[in-house]
């Protein structure tokens, strides 16, 4: 802040917005200047610009966003239980299957999602093979719903069927819960659309052996503090989306003593504990519901433009916005992930962006925290400096920083969180997601990993709807 008389006494410090030749001449004079890499706001779309201008500095929006992020930040998720989906997820029933991303009809689903649904129906005993499963679906016997609409999340295909065990995560600040299945490990797994016998066999083992054991262990605990594990893991090189080595180890350390207090025999104990030890992505299926439980607490604040969901079903990318409806998705065709392929695979083999795991980025970790996870850079391609740049850039599109989740390489700055639709449209900067790539063929599994962005259109549609509801002459405006 500088008024005119101060200006004449101060050193000139210039922000140059526009042609860079003016900055070059300031450099020549030794005048401090910074170049703003300007782009037309909202891609030059006047309708969007008008909506932006209407909400910019609107006190109700500012306050609503503050409220939304303070709820999200205050949320405190604990792992409290594991049980069958139909026993714990409100609204789940015996003919219902949940999937990742925004709503989608069977005939439009991506290959891996269809494959996983076939596997789930076989697992449930509702079908004996692929043909029977498809026939059942075509007959309309099965009701589909996005995980997100039932407080659940699922990586990749994200399939949850009634008798799958799900982690129960409780947000003890606000009392709401979130649910997520147990991570099966890598290779041929249901979440990539595989439904062979060994896949079904493993799922059954998870239900009959693993879940029962974990349930006993959790009953002895006062809940496992997931907020604390995520915060520590971020200081240990995880970003808790694609890299979960540290967090899985921390979880393993916490749960071990409770396992040992159960009545399981030595062989059972070894089997169950090795399952966690051998799966370095175990924590992904805890990180995700922890984020979900926190973000759900920030949904439904009137006038808030904070994004509470980003999710993909392999065909479309969808977002939800705090101030708009629970079932109001803003969707556009999902992008393809750009990154590195495992040997023998190429771009032609990849399915579009898939899974609910972008809930981590919505929470400000995952891709947003990549700058603190140098090891992930090797996996998704690029340089460490790129990762730090991605993390720093995200501050331009978020409401605030989450001091609970800090990044050592950014001098322990809190991660950018509370993605603001207004800022995304204003700057044209899209959230960054680092993610695995699924083969478009069901059952092949993961074929690579990389970086992907949501389509801009999701945010444009969201803002236009927001304006309809809260704008000039709007429904609530």
């Amino acid at each position: 802040m500088s008024n005119i008389q101060d200006l004449f006494k101060e050193k000139l410090h210039v922000i140059n917005i526009g042609t860079s030749t003016f900055k070059d001449d300031l450099d020549l004079q030794g005048t401090e200047a910074i170049q703003l890499d300007w782009q037309p706001p909202a891609g030059g779309n006047m309708e969007l610009i008008n909506a932006l201008d209407y909400f910019q500095d609107n006190e109700r929006v500012v306050n609503a966003n503050k409220e939304a992020i303070s709820r999200i930040k205050a949320a405190h998720p604990f792992l409290v239980d594991i049980d069958l989906a139909k026993n714990v997820i409100p609204g789940m029933h015996s003919n219902m299957i949940l999937h990742a991303g925004p709503p989608i009809a069977w005939e439009n689903m991506a290959g891996p999602v269809q494959g996983a649904i076939i596997g789930a129906l076989i697992y449930e005993g509702l079908a004996n093979n692929e043909e029977e499963a498809k026939a059942l679906v075509v007959k309309g016997e099965i009701e589909f719903s996005p995980c997100h609409e039932l407080s659940a999340v699922g990586p990749m295909a994200g399939i949850v069927s009634p008798s799958m065990p799900v982690h129960v995560v409780e947000n003890r600040t606000h009392g709401n819960k979130a649910y997520c299945t147990v991570n099966e490990g890598l290779g041929k797994v249901l979440r990539f659309g595989a439904f062979s016998e060994d896949v079904i066999h493993r799922l059954k083992w998870i239900k009959d052996v693993y879940a029962k054991a974990l349930k006993k262990a959790l009953a002895l605990s006062d809940g496992i503090d997931l907020k604390s594990i995520t915060a520590q893991a971020l200081h240990m090189g995880d970003e808790c989306h694609n890299r979960n080595k540290a967090s899985t180890s921390l979880f393993y350390r916490d749960i071990t003593d409770y396992f040992l207090q159960t009545d399981l025999d030595k062989e059972q104990l070894r089997e169950v504990m090795q399952f966690i030890k051998n799966n370095e992505h175990y924590y992904l299926n805890l990180s995700m519901p922890a984020c979900k439980a926190s973000l759900d607490a920030g949904h439904g604040i009137p006038y808030s433009t904070v994004v509470t969901t980003m999710a993909r079903n392999g065909v479309e990318f969808g977002i939800r916005i705090s101030g708009l409806g629970e079932q109001e998705w803003f969707t556009a065709p999902a992008n393809f992930v750009k990154g590195l392929f495992f040997p023998g695979f190429s771009e032609d083999d990849a399915a579009p962006d898939l899974g609910d795991s972008a809930i981590t980025e919505t929470m400000g970790i995952g891709g947003f925290a990549m700058g603190g996870s140098p090891a992930i850079v090797q996996f998704v391609g690029g340089e460490v400096a790129d990762a730090i740049h991605y993390s720093e850039q995200m501050y331009d599109i978020t409401v605030s920083e989450n001091s609970n989740y800090s990044i050592p390489t950014l001098d322990f700055r809190g991660t950018a969180f509370g993605i603001d639709v207004l800022k995304v449209i204003e700057t044209g900067i899209l959230p960054v997601i680092n993610t695995g790539m699924a083969s478009k063929v069901a059952g092949v599994g993961q074929i690579g990993a990389g970086i992907v962005h949501p389509p801009k259109e999701c945010f444009e549609k969201g803002l236009m709807r927001f304006y309809e509801v809260y704008g000039e002459g709007g429904i609530n405006g």
Binding site: N3, N16, G18, F22, D25
Partner: protein
Amino acid sequence: MASIVKVEANAYHDSVTLMSLSGKIKKYDGVEQAVVSMATQMNKELLNNIGLMTQEVQAATENDLIIAVKAVTDERVEEVIGFIESELTAKKSKKEKNGNQPVKTIHAAINAMPEANMAIISVPGEYAAREARQVLKQGIHVMLFSDNVSIEDEKSLKELGREKGLFVMGPDCGTAIINHSGLCFANKVSEGEIGLVAASGTGLQEVTVQIDKLGYGITQAIGTGGRDLHEEIGGIMMLQGLKALEADEKTKVITLISKPPAPKVQEKILAEVKKCQKPVVVCFLDRDAHAVEEAGAIFSPTLIDAARKAVKLVDPEKEMDTEIDEAASNWVKAEQKKLADSQQYIRGLFCGGTLTSEALSLIRDAGLKVKSNVAKKQAEKLSEVHTTTGHTLLDLGDDEFTKGKPHPMIDPTLRNERIVAEAKDPETAVLLLDFELGYGSHEDPVGVSLESLQEAKQIAAQAGRHLPIVAYICGTSKDKQDYQQQERKLEAIGVRVADSNEMATKIATMLVKEVN
């Protein structure tokens, strides 16, 4: 002929970068057409006119970049496209190398530079007011270089600035010198005791340059944008600037510069001038002295006169020559002898708008009938800018000439074609030119014009005529382009270089007056 037309989606580049790139490409041999521009409606039409329209271009939006090249061979097209792409990426990577990552938002810029107190905004007009408003809300002064900002926006921005005690210099403000940093188009001039506020960019450049040439200096040179003294705006920025200079300890003399203001606004300004404790020189081009003098201020009808009077107030002992010196008048006499009977008229080809206005008023005062595209009086207005009759002064920075091209101060090549055309006219007696040096201007304005000037002289010679050329270089010896070298280049081909726009105009006038 081979051609390639490409569209890059979401690849915004500013127009100055793109236009200067287009200029570089034209120098490739065998290139017939080359367009590198954002896909605006105007640029699409341009592509249509040169036969390079494609469906992809038709569907492109203003945020998409068009690269279109037509040349003799496929190889040449490829080569030029490669050059364009490397130039555009080189710019980006350079930006990233010198220091931090590029910032994309005003908030990010302020985070990176918390001391920021001035923003220069030169984005396309339809977005400029929005950016300015955001900057003002952050408590930062604005220099708004962009034009095509609506008068309503200008008013609301200036009211916001006034309320917050912030400068809003512009829109369409080309020149300012704040705390001795030249912003946009400005010359490097000495520090001193004269503070200026001007509604004219080249006017401000000329007055500061002349003050420097007289051996004196300035405190601040504040721009207001050309419309500040229109009735709708009411001179908000000039009044703010005047008050700021009145309060500034270093400023001893104040100088105001503008084209004729709206009468009501003039009244308002002069009422404020009356309250000033410091002496004020008021240069309202083409206005009469009476009202100004009544307000207790000193009136100047021309830019050079404003510079002289301001200097006189700082140093009453200073002696100044205002008449044509002997060397110049000898030159005029010698040139006159070589003129053919048909050669009767001055043809002024200017890059600076207010320099055109000043020349117009001087030639009129000398009793000649003259027309110009900057004229305000009906009788002096040009009906058509592309053909010339009688004494004519053209401001080539006018919109009619600059559509889709850089302003001639950025790239004077725009004027070259006209230099040659005027040389072909048997009635042209003398070419009167200006060259602007300083920040923002072309790195070698004389250099890029030399070939055309020589061609002009040859054309005249082949037709049995001799063509005198008089030029003024608006610049100081401290400017980045090297004044002396620019001057030498002109003198080497026989161009007479004057040390003010006034003097150049007087020499040209003397040349034709005595012929007539």
